[in-house]
């Protein structure tokens, strides 16, 4: 592969990483905390690409054509950026809520109290709802369906990237949004319900939420918890 082709490829990769951060598109693939790392590596890639146009005395690195493959993810991102892994991922793995290490922080004082699904599920399962009991909570997630009549509010949790995404599910009881399409995003106001189900995929417990009201919302810019 010619030196100048390699250099242009690196400029493209670096530029794409920086573009992903600038537009916020990177949040579909990785954690928000990756932003500085992506920008830094983008800058390094651009610097190396630009620096490669300088003359060098002997440069006989002859690699195979494998470097061309870098164009595949770049073109995908630029031409047809893949969406989030929501519905497909949620149907493939069991709910994942680990036991929190410390004590639960007090709920936000607003009514209803906004919580992440992970936080709600942990309070419901490991705190037996004692920090939730009388309060109205506001949860945001997308709809997934289990067996007929089982509607879940779901959110994907990622640690590094969307390849390790796993769902947190909360079973909706009470005013269930039965008419909504699976994968529609909802903001739900509800109360703690002490029932739990076992997730058929991994036998983890799924907490219930007594739904008081719900409304459709747009998918949030930060789709993962």
């Amino acid at each position: 592969m010619r030196r100048h082709v390699e250099a242009v490829l690196l400029l493209l990769v670096g530029g794409t990483l920086i573009k992903l951060v600038a537009t916020g598109g990177y949040l579909r693939y990785v954690r928000p905390a990756m932003a500085p790392l992506l920008v830094c590596s983008g800058v390094v890639l651009i610097a190396v690409g630009a620096g490669s146009f300088a003359r060098i005395r002997r440069d006989h690195a002859h690699g195979g054509p494998v470097g061309w493959l870098l164009l595949v993810p770049i073109l995908l991102i630029l031409v047809a950026p893949p969406p989030t892994v929501d519905t497909f991922g949620a149907a493939r793995s069991g709910t994942a809520v680990s036991r929190p290490t410390g004590r639960f922080a007090p709920l936000p004082s607003t009514d209803p109290a906004p919580l992440t699904l992970t936080d709600y599920a942990a309070r419901a399962l490991y705190g037996h709802g004692s920090t939730l009991r009388t309060r109205r909570v506001l949860l945001t997630g997308f709809v997934t369906r289990g067996a007929p009549g089982q509607e879940y509010l779901t959110r994907m949790v990622i640690t590094c990237c969307a390849a390790d995404a796993r769902p947190v599910k909360v079973r909706m009881a009470g005013r269930i949004p039965a008419d909504l399409a699976a994968d529609a995003w909802l903001s739900v106001i509800g109360r703690y319900d002490s029932h739990t189900d076992a997730d058929p995929l991994n036998t983890n417990r799924i907490p219930y939420l007594d739904v008081l009201s719900y409304r459709r919302v747009a998918a949030p810019s930060q789709p993962y918890e």
Binding site: V8, Y26, R58, L71, L76, P83, A163, D164, R166
Partner: protein, 309 residues
């Protein structure tokens, strides 16, 4: 250069001509996993390559000979333990290892470093502790089993390894100005290992969307089968070593021992790593080294798991 320009023009044309087509969910999820894996790995690949190029351009070959003990049997565990200092996941350790080999570090020691680095660095161990609250032995087990497996592989290489199996990548650039060597090495390594990363990420995406989710539940109750299943799954899924503890934590249908095996095998041998090793050290090396690593890692993980957990 003209080919590159043509591809780019075609892509721009497609962007404006192509209507919104609805693709099957499995394929769409596959592209997301593919792009995510590449985007997540690139910063660590860049870090590893920059360190690697800096070693090639600035560190004299004699430096490592002085640092490592003469006796190869002793240098293996020392090089393995040195893996603690390289933060990050698998993608960074391949280029660094190739620079170490280039600088005359004995292959056995360099390979121990290659295997240990992604598994035992503090970032990974802290992630494991957070993912398994109440099970500190998971962290201990992971550290000990990974380092042990890496050392065993180093010692096996001393005993059975042949020089002709391992292609030691040569430095491609020579110049009086070291900064130009640095830039040339960076450029070449980034494009090459980037290409192999793409192959690895594509394999991950395919396998990840094809393995049926319920197939695992069937074997979860069985002691031996569950260990084997999670060892294979770790090699197939190729989750980053910083994230695999959280994936393992969610697989509550499996025993802790089986999940420890998942954590030990994953960073040492997986599809993504295999593609990068084959590209860097030669396919003849990778087809022997990866299966051996798999057996050693799974066995060490299983033994440590049944003793500690």
């Amino acid at each position: 250069m003209y080919v590159l320009a043509a591809v780019l023009v075609a892509a721009v044309a497609v962007r404006f001509v192509l209507p919104d087509v609805r693709l099957p969910a499995r394929l769409v999820a596959g592209t997301t996993i593919f792009v995510s894996t590449v985007v997540q790995a690139l910063p660590f690949l860049v870090l590893g390559t920059v360190i690697s190029a800096a070693i090639t351009a600035y560190v004299p070959a004699s430096a490592f000979a002085r640092l490592l003990p003469r006796a190869p049997v002793v240098s293996v565990p020392i090089a393995g333990a040195a893996g603690i200092v390289l933060p990050g996941c698998e993608c960074g350790s391949v280029p660094v290892t190739s620079a170490l080999l280039r600088r005359g570090v004995p292959p056995a020691a360099a390979l121990a470093f290659l295997l240990a680095a992604p598994a035992i660095n503090p970032v990974v161990l802290v992630a494991t502790a957070v993912a398994f609250p109440g099970h500190p032995m998971m962290v201990v087990g992971r550290f000990v089993a990974s380092l042990l497996a890496a050392c065993i592989m180093g010692w096996l290489w001393l005993r059975f390894g042949r020089g002709d199996l391992l292609r030691i990548p040569r430095a491609g650039a020579e110049d009086r100005a070291r900064v130009r060597v640095f830039v040339a090495e960076c450029r070449h390594d980034l494009v090459q290992s980037g290409g192999f990363l793409v192959i690895g990420a594509a394999s991950v995406a395919v396998l990840d969307t094809v393995v049926p989710p319920r197939a695992l539940g069937v074997v979860a109750g069985h002691q031996v089968l569950s260990v084997l299943a999670l060892a294979v799954l770790a090699a197939v899924l190729s989750v980053c070593s910083q994230a695999d503890a959280f994936v393992a934590a969610a697989m509550t249908q499996f025993s802790l021992t089986a999940r420890l095996v998942f954590l030990v095998v994953g960073p040492l041998v997986d599809v993504k790593l295999f593609a990068m090793q084959a590209g860097t050290f030669g396919r003849r090396f990778a087809v022997r080294f990866a299966p051996a690593t798999f057996v050693v890692a799974a066995a060490t993980g299983a033994v440590l798991g049944s003793v500690l957990l």
